[in-house]
């Protein structure tokens, strides 16, 4: 349980987050409220560990997510006690708390003003820059959020979190090529992130399906999507989304082959030949079948997949098998 408190809580399922936040009062009661700075007592008490503060931070986020504001305030109070309210990370958490406490848009505007005042003082306060972007996005000022994010990336282009947020915003606006560019930057910084490979593949696939690019480009885009999914699987053997995307791409390429284009050839992104495609399709189908079967059977070592993703994979398999029968 504590191990899941040590990791950032963004990926937790609602159920786990709820469970964690319900334990918050107990954890808060059992952990030391303040680590004393006096030399004598620190000689005898248990040493303070960085994990304790990570736990408080993650607990705070989980509590906010599940609406347990009281425990969240307690966690924040302890963090402020320890690090002071001029610590950049704590400042962002305080801001987050104010955002959570805000009941109407006017209060949010006030919080936004505070962020801007803080940034006036210290423009390199990255946690606050990020909070401001998130707040702008959540109150619907998308273009301002993008501007702020690009401003951040201008002076800190090695921030993969910011790049992926930028990609997500562009994607929500339907700007696929910009979103893909931002994700490629993430990959440059984190070259082995298989989920990012698969995500690029998904974006490419969606941009083909939405027909935003010109038709000549679709061979290249599908070819790249296929390669991205393959790379993702190569890095992570059991990555469900990778197989799912691979299956979708191969189906698309088999049923509706795009016109071969010179450009795709020259860039080395042309889709592979028919037999390879069929093999890849078979591989994806087989693996998806295995994962769904074993997950449903509750086998050990095959748990931890997302329920919704499993359901989607099942649906995809059923659909494809029905078309082959016909």
């Amino acid at each position: 349980m504590t191990s899941s408190l040590l990791r950032p809580p963004g990926h937790l399922s609602p159920a786990t987050a709820l469970q964690l936040s319900q334990q918050a009062p107990i954890i808060i009661k059992n952990s030391p409220g303040a680590v004393t700075a006096s030399a004598l007592s620190s000689l005898f008490s248990a040493p303070e560990t960085p994990e304790l503060w990570t736990i408080y931070e993650n607990l705070l986020l989980s509590c906010l997510r599940t609406g347990d504001e009281e425990s969240a305030h307690l966690c924040l109070g302890r963090l402020v006690n320890r690090f002071g309210d001029d610590n950049e990370r704590v400042m962002a958490l305080i801001g987050l708390m104010k955002e959570a406490d805000a009941t109407d848009d006017a209060t949010l505007e006030v919080v936004l003003k505070e962020y801007e005042a803080l940034l006036q003082e210290n423009p390199t306060n990255i946690p606050i820059v990020k909070r401001r972007v998130a707040l702008l996005r959540s109150i619907g000022r998308i273009s301002d959020a993008v501007t702020a994010l690009i401003g951040l990336l201008d002076f800190s282009p090695t921030d993969s979190e910011a790049w992926s947020e930028l990609s997500d915003i562009y994607f929500s606006q339907g700007l696929y090529s910009q979103a893909i560019f931002a994700l490629e930057e993430v990959l440059v910084l984190q070259p082995n992130a298989w989920n990012i490979y698969a995500r690029i593949g998904e974006l490419l696939l969606m941009s083909v399906k939405s027909g935003s690019g010109d038709q000549n480009d679709s061979a290249k885009q599908l070819g790249e999507a296929l390669k991205r999914f393959c790379r993702s699987i190569e890095l992570c053997d059991d990555y469900l989304r990778g197989y799912y995307g691979l299956k979708l791409t191969t189906t698309q390429l088999l049923n509706d082959p795009p016109k071969p284009s010179k450009q795709a050839e020259s860039d080395g992104l042309a889709p592979p030949n028919l037999s390879t495609l069929q093999k890849l399709d078979g591989l994806a189908t087989e693996k998806l079948g295995e994962i769904t079967r074993r997950f449903t059977a509750g086998e050990k070592g095959w748990q931890g997949f997302d329920e919704a993703e499993i359901a989607a994979a099942k649906e995809l398999l059923e659909k494809s098998s029905s078309t082959t029968v016909r």
């Binding site: 040493p47 090695t158 921030d159 910084l189 390669k227 790379r231 992104l269 390879t276």
Partner: protein, 257 residues
């Protein structure tokens, strides 16, 4: 050859309580005091100004693109290469573009560098002052005392180390003088401090606290030169992509398993 009779020196048992024990306790207490003094005197890390941050991170970004170019497809790598080499060569990311080409500033006049030196100085002072005091304390009160006999034989070479301050030629090197005990504590208390203060303490005298992390962007390094070099590095990359033939690799990998 006849065995030499073991040397015996009649020692006052009180020596233990009045010399050995006080020296040890004083050493430990000074170590703890020094640790907390260093913690108190430590200056917080200096704020990096936005242009300086931009300069550092842009260079790091360039390095990342150069070393992970294989995750990109050929066209997107080409676009990045063109953009970055132009920007690096034109000095778009420099902290102060108008100072391009001039020799780096004297580190002595750079306030940032002075700060670092002050920190080092403070640390050294925290080391030196108590040591000088204790040394002179021991020399004044306890010089010339032989306080300990080691329970194991050692060679004559250790004589100068263990019997500092006792100029007796014929004495067995196993006998140890008070000033030597001080040195032994000075170098050997690291583990005691690890136990008392946690592993990253400043209590022990161990001067080799590891070399300072090499500062890539420290004073005296010309950022413009680094950018030029990075632009060149980017320009000479022969691009290949990890996506080339990934389907074949995948299929073969699955088959061989």
């Amino acid at each position: 050859m006849a065995q030499l009779p073991p040397q015996t020196i009649q020692r006052d048992p009180q020596l233990f309580y009045w010399i050995l024990f006080p020296i040890t306790v004083v050493m430990i207490l000074t170590g703890i005091l020094r640790h907390y003094a260093t913690v108190l005197m430590a200056s917080p890390p200096k704020k990096v100004e936005q242009p300086a941050l931009k300069e550092q991170r842009s260079l790091m970004h360039g390095v990342a693109v150069r070393s992970n170019f294989h995750v990109l497809t050929a066209p997107s790598f080409k676009a990045r290469r063109e953009f970055l080499t132009t920007a690096f060569e034109s000095g778009a990311y420099l902290k102060d573009p108008e100072r391009r080409g001039q020799p780096p500033a004297n580190p002595m006049t750079d306030p940032g560098a002075m700060d670092g030196m002050m920190g080092m100085m403070k640390n050294n002072m925290a080391m030196m002052v108590p040591n000088t005091l204790i040394m002179s304390w021991i020399n004044t009160f306890f010089s010339g005392f032989v306080i300990l006999k080691l329970p194991f034989p050692i060679t004559i070479k250790f004589k100068s180390m263990l019997q500092a301050g006792v100029a007796t030629k014929e004495m067995d090197p196993r006998w140890m003088s008070s000033i030597s005990w001080y040195f032994l504590c000075y170098f050997g208390l690291q583990f005691v401090f690890n136990f008392l203060l946690g592993s990253d303490n400043d209590g022990a005298a161990d001067a080799g606290n590891g070399p300072q992390a090499p500062n890539m962007f420290g004073p005296g390094v010309d950022a413009d030169k680094q950018f030029q070099a990075e632009a060149e590095n980017l320009a000479v990359i022969k691009h290949y992509s990890v996506l080339d033939d990934v389907e074949q690799r995948l299929l073969e990998g699955i088959k061989t398993r």
